[in-house]
Amino acid sequence: MKKPTIVFILCVLALVPMVLLTISIRENKAEQQAINAVPAISDSETRSSEWGKYYPRQYDTYMQTRKSDKIEDVLKEDPALIVLWAGYGFSKDYNKPRGHYYALEDNINTLRTGAPVDAATGPMPTACWTCKSPDVGRLTKRDGELEFFTGKWAKYGDEVANSIGCGDCHDGTTMKLNVNRDFLKRALDAEGSLKAADATHQDMRTLVCAQCHAEYYFKKTEWEDKGEKKVAQVVTFPWANGMSAENIEAYYDDINFVDWTHQLSKAPMLKAQHPGYETFVTGVHSRNNLSCADCHMPYVREGAVKYSNHKIGSPLDDIANTCLNCHSGTEKEFKAVVARKLERKNELSLLASDILAKAHLEAAKAWELGATEEEMKPALQDIRHGQWRWDYAVASHGGFFHAPEETLRVLGGAINKGQDARLKLRIILAKHNAADYVAPDFSTKEKAQAVIGLPFEKLVEEKKSFLNSLRQEWIKQSEAKGVYDPESRKDMVLKTSYN
């Protein structure tokens, strides 16, 4: 045989197995890619059940938040609050929060959001959806932030259809944690101690929560939509001066911000929302660089898989996997320590709310007897500041544990301001021959409602007719639009404080 023929035969003998091997490797790589692929979920996918197809463990644990379904009526626990919030929505209905699964449902069912009859009727603005649903991110992208914050709550009744879920914290394509509420980024940048762009993964495990668990107000913002002047009520965190009760109080005073004028005392009031992040950062767990997720979403091992528990709730339900990761001690001891912290907070909180409610009623009496605006102003300012501080300390619910020292300190300030107001009011009452005036009894929910003249029965009637008419329309329409998974509300029963 000639030499080239030999070379040719050798080459063919080498080529055949090499080509076969290449084919085999390519097959294996395709298999590897399919197994390893991070499923891409559309940015506008707001149905958590769709994400759950790829992340069954996270979804299953998230769905467990439906077990946190007890309605605890705060107004019944401390009827003084009805007096504190006279003329404001919170005097109508206020329950302790339930699981994330119910966030949207409770927002729709509470008497605070009223009984709209069409897309344009109130009483609340669109901003009240902001923290209830991943649909908010979708709508902000679709309509623009300013359009989203313009108009009445009922405008988006048929669009906001899914309760807090996957899309609120995760980016659908990378699954990374993601802040999709821009107002948090703006607030962080304004406050300055942690710029939004500098946030690490560990920071993000707190910041995704801080999107909602924070103090905010609706900043009136004028804008022009195709030549038409509109006013948006943009959710804004008042952090520019800092995040303490006093810093935020100064921020609101500087811009003369008033949430509402008190129905009885005419004081220019502030309502604290839920300054969870602001208080948490002062606490010892935050200062040791723990994140919300470290305690509220502990890791779970299932076979060879490790994942974080998405049943977000009290770490006290799972002390073995939360507290005891770092601390030594028994579950019983931990429960007792936390219970004692709560008792301390409740003691001061009840004291403060009682003092402030009496101050409101005494101010109302002073007005009735003909006190002048000039006379009343310093006392009303004390009421404003006192109630703001009390609210700031208690409204986040977890503050007593996240930041016990700060919570008690601020409550001390609230009591002081409240008593200051009452001292000033007592002098005014004395001037008007009512030095021995005693505020009426508000020791039960019914008595307190009578004191402020709340038409409770009427509100409940209106709400029920809304729930049976427009609310049902919303469900049908959002299902028709395909933004809502009927399975997600399966077996849901109406639970409220009034039915």
Binding site: V7, C11, A14, N36, G303
Partner: protein
């Protein structure tokens, strides 16, 4: 014929270069753990290691290859590489991978080499008093007979990490 021969030599070179590329052949020269998840069979082992206390201290090769000399390391790597390639290509592996006696010995030696301070007394005792039960490893008992979960957890079937997606390198 001459030209056909030249062409076929070029084809062989081309296919070989492509093979090097497709198989990520050069990545096996490194000690990067992600080289071990070029194939899906190691996903469970990678994912469990990635969530273990060893992840910041010891990579795959720190435990699984001998560290006494470079020559031994490369010989072991080549031997393992050949066995794994054959198993992968002809799909002769099952869902439960078990370590060979040779690999167990290397790992045990490496455990002892890092944790020498802690186990020095045990080493001395085993030499003096213990009856050797398993002659394939130092000390006569494999460390992981007791430390069962380290570092790959007690569940390491290669189907045990479905829907895990943790092979994203942290």
């Amino acid at each position: 014929m001459k030209y056909i021969a030249i062409f076929s030599v070029l084809a062989v070179v081309g296919v070989f270069v492509n093979l090097v590329h497709e198989s990520k052949m050069l990545s096996y020269l490194s000690s990067d753990p992600t080289a071990c998840i070029n194939c899906h069979t190691m996903i469970t082992h990678f994912a469990t290691w990635q969530h273990s206390s060893h992840r910041n201290r010891a990579t795959c090769v720190d435990c699984h290859l001998p560290r006494d000399s470079f020559v031994n390391k490369m010989l072991a790597k080549s031997r393992d590489g050949y066995n794994h390639s054959v198993a992968m290509t002809f799909k002769t592996y099952g869902n439960n991978l078990r370590i060979s006696n040779d690999a167990a010995k290397r790992i045990q030696d490496n455990c002892i080499s890092c944790h020498r301070e802690v186990v020095s007394q045990m080493l001395a005792n085993s030499a003096l008093y213990q009856k050797v039960a398993d002659s394939t490893v130092q000390m006569g008992r494999r460390c992981w007979e007791c430390h069962r979960g380290l570092p790959h957890g007690t569940m390491r079937n290669i189907t045990a990490t479905q829907n895990n997606f943790t092979v994203k390198v942290l």
